[in-house]
Symmetry: C2
Subunit: 344 residues, 2 copies
Amino acid sequence: MNIQNFFGIELPIIQAPMAGVQSSALAIAVSNAGGLGSLPCAMLTPESLRAELAAITAQTRRPYNVNFFCHTPAVPDAARDAKWRSALAPYYAEFGIDPDSVSAGGGRAPFSSKLADLLEAFKPPVVSFHFGLPSPELLHRVKSWGAKVISSATTVAEARWLEANGADAIIAQGLEAGGHRGLFLSEDLTTQVGTMALLPQVLRAVRVPVIAAGGIADAHGVKAALALGAAGVQVGTSYLLCHEATTTALHRAALKSERAEHTALTNLLTGRPARGMYNRLMRELGPLSGAPPAFPLATSALMPLKAAAEKLGRDDFSSLWAGQNTSGCREIAAAELTRLLAAN
Amino acid sequence: MNIQNFFGIELPIIQAPMAGVQSSALAIAVSNAGGLGSLPCAMLTPESLRAELAAITAQTRRPYNVNFFCHTPAVPDAARDAKWRSALAPYYAEFGIDPDSVSAGGGRAPFSSKLADLLEAFKPPVVSFHFGLPSPELLHRVKSWGAKVISSATTVAEARWLEANGADAIIAQGLEAGGHRGLFLSEDLTTQVGTMALLPQVLRAVRVPVIAAGGIADAHGVKAALALGAAGVQVGTSYLLCHEATTTALHRAALKSERAEHTALTNLLTGRPARGMYNRLMRELGPLSGAPPAFPLATSALMPLKAAAEKLGRDDFSSLWAGQNTSGCREIAAAELTRLLAAN
């Protein structure tokens, strides 16, 4: 079954939830254009989440998706935190930041019963998760109001696990994709493969609809993914320059430059591997490092550095999330981009 | 134009040249089945090359491809060689190998006028290169007997360069591919992207036929690549278990095991990044290391270790080249695999 029928939408396009570079405006625009707009919720307070859901339901009657992380929060570990601060010490000195003023912690909370309470008032038609699925009880609650539940698989084993544990559809997230790798059964990056390798294998392994993600940036990519047998596609990076995205000026400038051709997986910015454009921190510490603490505890210690560098117009410590194919980025309205992606 | 018309073959399938795991037998089988069989020549002596060409021309009247490397041979560097031997010293001790008995050097010679002389007697209809193109003079000679010249691009910039410098068709080599990355304009691995990201961009950038490679393992993958606009595909990994391949028993066993799901790019085995299954050397030294000397000078120092370990049934130091999609490997005749790949 294609995702148009599955979700009740017009076009085979899901706009990928992208925390930090979008709010409800992008989701609303995509849903109103006939795709499935997504709201990234992992970094929202409950109050912001409620306000965003109110905005979406006021501005579209079409289906939309809300996305949550469902990691097990790491327990702070003084030794690992100290190691991380020691790796960052030269930067604190360079930017005149008192290390003692820097707070620990993460800032990304997993899905919870409190969030389910909040969601229930809105009954979002699609709820997507990253890093697996929440507990069976929470999953049952979400499904009880009729929501379709989807999650990302980065390996065949993860796809099988998601199907066995109640996912209604599965996103096959190829290695090209920007942002956090969804891997959750293993931390072994040697298992991570490109969309052309992953998608056919996942399609053979499960019976639920499979959505292709990773490297799909334009109508040709959409057509190829559908030819492979995908029920639809999820596209993130191409939306980063859209009018409705909240992508920062620094991030936009990097995307429009030659730097957009240089990405890597890095665990420096959050503690988990995520794909972004290469920047100073990645170059100097190595993009995959033993220095940062577990997800999401790496982030707070970077915040004052990020702020100080950005004040100087530098993205040395910024999360410049992007996939390997930035050729589809357009400074246009998201509705137009959505239609272009589906123009086959 | 599709590669069937371009090369005068029946099926849109090129069997990737794979040095170390095949000889003329695989190429002959694929060409006779209607694909384009390829002979990897980088590790052949002139005498072996002549014998292999004689075998091919005796056993098929169909088009075939001969593949050469065209790197600039690295100048031996005593300091780098010493660093490499020092990294390997614990292994020499473990296997009782006298380090002084280990010879330096590589064993992969680039294309040359001497090789062109040898080729000219056979006038192979297709000549493919890895790591760019040979000198304009050599390229002119190859083309003078009517050969079509193809080479691999791993970035849009490389595709443009190849077209500008005389390639008749271009292989877009996605990051999923096994064996050596063809990158030649830069050594920067942050430029390397998956097939789903690379292929559409290369198709837009050049006018010559573009052949998709990387992660394509079965008829679905072939169909998707053609849907993207590729003129044909190049498939390597799926042929590794074919009867005609000379893949070692150790390599075959790894491909049939769970280990086939774990690959990485490594520069340890030759000095240039190549994708293979994860093994002990990669795990212990890190797959991308500053220790090995420049390509192809890393290889000789490993040879006695490889031999000693393989005698014990271990692949600790072996090149287990494989792409990210090993799901298409079949223990069948190469002709049958070729037809299966093209069965759309």
